[in-house]
Amino acid sequence: MENRAIFSGKLLPYLLILPQLAISLIFFYWPALQALQQSFLVQDAFGLSTEFVWFENYVNLLQTREYYQAIGVTFVFSALVAVFSLTLGLLLAVMANRNIRGVQIYRTFLIVPYAVAPAVASVLFIFMFQPGLGMIARALQRSGVDWNPVLNGTHAMILVVIVAVWNQISYNFLFFLAGLQAIPKSVIEAAAIDGAKPMRRFWTIVFPLLSPTSFFLIIVNITYVFFNTLGIIDTATGGGPNGATQTLVYKVFQDGKVGTDLGGSAAQSVILMVIVVALTAFQFRYVEKKVHY
C-alpha cells in the first residue's frame, strides 16, 4: 500500500527521464532548431539587419563549385581516417591482448594519445612535417620526396589523415581491447584443440564476436571525422591548399566564423546534419544486420 502511495500514477517515469529529456532539448534540439531558423535568413554579422529569404541560402550553396569539392573531400577524408584508425586500433588491441611481459605498460602508453587535444596533436605534427624545419619533412626530402603540404593537396591530405588517425587510434584500441577480453577463452581454446590456426581462429571466432564493438566504433568514428576534426584541420592546413582539405564541417566554421555569413553557414550545418543522420540510419538498417550480439 505504502509503495503504491509513493510510486503511484504515471508521473514518476516522466520525472525520472526529465533530466535526460531536458538536456537533449536544451543542448541538442534547441540549437538544431535555431540553426534551421538561421538557415532561412540573410543577416549581417552584428544581427542589425535581417531578411527572410526562404531557401535562397541552400540554392546559393548548391550552385557553388567549392561546396561539391568539400563534399568529396569529406568522404575521402572520412573513409581514410575511419579505415586506418579502426584497423590499426584493432591490430594494436590484438597484439596487446596477448600474454607478454610488460603488457600493462604497453596498454597504458597506447591510450595516452587520446588525452592529447586535437589542436595540440596538430601542432606536434606540424612541427615534424614542416618543410625545411621538421624532422620527418627533412628525412622525406633527403630521401627524394618533394614533401610540400602547403602547396601539394595530396600531401596536405596525408598530413591531416595522419594526425586524425593518430588522435583516434587510442579510443578504438581501448574499445577493441575491452571487446577482446569479453570473448570467452573457452571458445578460442576449443577451436585451437580442433586444430584451427591463429589466423583462422581470428576470422571465424574473434572477429564475428567483436562485431558489436566494431559496429559501435564505426558509427563513433564517422561522427568523429565529420565533426571533431575541425581543430586538426584548422591548425594543420587551414583547409588548404586550394580547398584540398576543406571538409564540410570546416567550411561551416569558415563561412560562419571567418566569413560571418551566418545564414549560409547555418544552411550548411543543416545539410551536414541530414547527411550524418542518413549515414547513421543506413548503418543501423543494413550493417547492423551483420552484427552478432
Partner: protein, 437 residues
C-alpha cells in the same frame, strides 16, 4: 598560514576600499588580441592611463587571435554586452563600419566629447585606412606595420649579388642566383594576398576594386585581374617550378624559413623585426618592396597592416568621455615615440615620427624607418589609401586558394586571378546586401 595571509590581504583590501573616498570610477573594457611583449605594452598603457587620473579605469582583456577577438565582440554585441573598446585587425574594417549603430566613429566621439583632435596631425597613410573617403576617422589606429623585403646579406654575398634588389626583375634574377646556394628556397613570402595583391596594387597605384578600393561604397567591384598582376603571378609561378621562389603559406607561419637561413629573401611584415633581431644568425637588412620599373607611377606608397581600436555603440556618456580621454592620452607625442621604439610598430602621428627622426634613432635602427618611408613615399591616391571590402577576412582565404592553385600548376595565373575576382565579387554582393543601409 595561507589562511592568515588571505585574512591579512582581505583586511588591507577592505581598509583601502574604505580609505578611498566614495567616488564612482567608470570602468571601460578594452578587448584586444596582443600576445607576448605586445600584451605587456597594452597592460602598461592601461595602467599608466589609470594612474594618470582617477575618474576612469581601462580594463584590458585578452580575447585570443584577431579573428577570435572580433567574433567575441560580435557575440557580445548580439548579447547586448559589448566592450567599450575593441581591437580589430585591418581586414575587419568593412565588417565594423558596416555595422552602423554597433560602433561609434572616433571622429564623432572626439567632437562630442570636446577633446582636442586634429585629424591632420596623424600620418595620412595610416589613418586613411581607417577613415571615410571624406577623411572622418572611424577607428583609432593602434598597431600598424607595412610590408618590406627582408634580405640575408651573407647569402647575397655568397651568391655574388652586389646590392639588395630594388625592382621585381632584379628580385627574380636574384632569386635564381640564390637558388644555387639555397636549393629549397631562393625567395619566399608571408601573407601572400597582402603582398601580391593588396600591397602590390597600392605600390603600383593601380586599383584592387572600383570605388577607391571600396572606401567609397560597398557596391565596389574587384578588378585586379589585369595584365600587370598577371605578369607578377606568372613570374612567381615560374620561379616556383624549381623552388627559386617557394610558397610559405597564407599567414606568417613560414617566417622561420628566413631566420633559419633557408630562404634568403623574404617578403613580409615590418613587424617581423624583433623576431629577426633575436633569431637570425647572419647579417640582415630590410629594403622597400620591389616594383616594376616600367609602371610609371611606381613606387607610389605602401598601405598598412595591423589593427585599430573601435569604439562600440550604445555606451554611457561617462564611458565615452573616458574613451575619448584615453585616445588623447594615446596620441601624446612622447607616448607614441616610446610605443614605436619599444614595439617596432609604426608611430601614428607626424610629430612622433619627426621626433624619433630628430633623436637619431633611425641612424641606429635604419630598418625601422623603411616602412615609414614606404608609407610616406607619395601622398596617397584613391588606389593607395587602403581598401575596404566586406568579408575581407575570408576573402583573403579565397584569393590565397586561387594563388595556391596557380602555384601548384592546376590553373594558369590568369585563370586563378579571374576566379579570385569572380568569387570575391560574389562575396561582395552578399555583403552589400546585409550591410545596414
Amino acid at each position: 598560514m595561507a589562511l592568515r595571509q588571505f585574512g591579512a590581504a582581505a583586511a588591507v583590501t577592505v581598509a583601502l576600499a574604505l580609505a578611498t573616498p566614495a567616488h564612482a570610477v567608470t570602468e571601460i573594457q578594452w578587448w584586444h588580441a596582443m600576445t607576448g611583449p605586445n600584451n605587456d605594452v597594452v597592460v602598461k598603457l592601461a595602467n599608466d592611463f589609470n594612474a594618470s587620473q582617477s575618474d576612469y579605469k581601462i580594463v584590458p582583456a585578452f580575447k585570443g587571435s584577431y579573428a577570435d577577438t572580433l567574433n567575441a565582440g560580435i557575440a557580445a554585441f548580439r548579447a547586448g554586452n559589448a566592450p567599450g573598446i575593441m581591437q580589430v585587425f585591418e581586414v575587419g574594417t568593412a565588417t565594423m563600419m558596416a555595422a552602423k549603430g554597433a560602433v561609434k566613429p572616433v571622429s564623432e566621439l572626439m567632437k562630442e566629447q570636446g577633446e582636442a583632435f586634429d585629424p591632420k596631425s596623424y600620418l595620412p597613410a595610416i589613418t586613411g585606412y581607417y577613415s571615410t573617403s571624406k577623411g572622418d576617422m572611424l577607428s583609432f589606429p593602434f598597431n600598424s606595420s607595412s610590408m618590406v623585403l627582408w634580405i640575408n646579406l651573407d647569402a647575397l654575398k655568397k651568391a655574388d649579388i652586389a646590392a639588395p634588389p630594388k625592382t621585381w626583375p632584379e628580385v627574380f634574377a636574384a632569386a635564381k642566383k640564390l637558388h644555387a646556394t639555397n636549393p629549397t628556397c631562393g625567395f619566399s613570402s608571408s601573407w601572400i594576398t597582402w603582398g601580391l595583391i593588396e600591397q602590390f596594387s597600392a605600390w603600383h597605384n593601380v586599383p584592387i576594386g572600383t570605388k577607391a578600393n571600396g572606401l567609397d561604397g560597398f557596391d565596389t567591384v574587384l578588378e585586379f585581374n589585369t595584365p600587370l598582376e598577371t605578369k607578377l603571378l606568372e613570374s612567381i609561378v615560374d620561379l616556383q617550378k624549381d623552388k627559386s621562389y617557394d610558397y610559405s603559406g597564407r599567414t606568417n607561419t613560414g617566417e622561420g624559413r628566413f631566420t633559419s637561413g633557408e630562404c634568403p629573401m623574404f617578403l613580409t611584415s615590418s613587424a617581423f623585426y624583433p623576431n629577426v633581431k633575436a633569431n637570425a644568425k647572419f647579417e640582415f637588412t630590410a629594403v622597400a618592396m620591389p616594383y616594376f620599373p616600367d609602371v610609371a607611377s611606381a613606387p607610389q606608397n605602401s598601405i598598412i597592416g595591423g589593427a585599430s581600436l573601435w569604439v562600440m555603440g550604445g555606451k554611457s556618456p561617462e564611458e565615452y568621455k573616458g574613451i575619448a580621454k584615453f585616445f588623447t592620452f594615446l596620441s601624446d607625442t612622447d607616448r607614441q615615440v616610446y610605443l614605436h621604439q619599444v614595439s617596432g610598430y609604426l608611430p601614428i602621428t607626424k610629430a612622433a615620427y619627426e621626433k624619433t627622426k630628430a633623436s637619431g634613432f633611425y641612424e641606429k635602427n635604419p630598418i625601422l624607418e623603411v616602412p615609414l618611408k614606404e608609407l610616406t613615399n607619395k601622398p596617397p591616391t584613391e588606389n593607395s589609401r587602403g581598401l575596404r571590402f566586406g568579408g575581407m577576412v575570408q576573402m583573403r582565404d579565397v584569393w590565397a586558394e586561387e594563388i595556391e592553385a596557380a602555384l601548384a600548376g592546376k590553373k594558369s595565373a590568369k585563370e586563378a586571378l579571374d576566379t579570385a575576382v569572380s568569387r570575391g565579387n560574389a562575396m561582395l554582393r552578399q555583403f552589400e546586401r546585409t550591410a545596414v543601409k
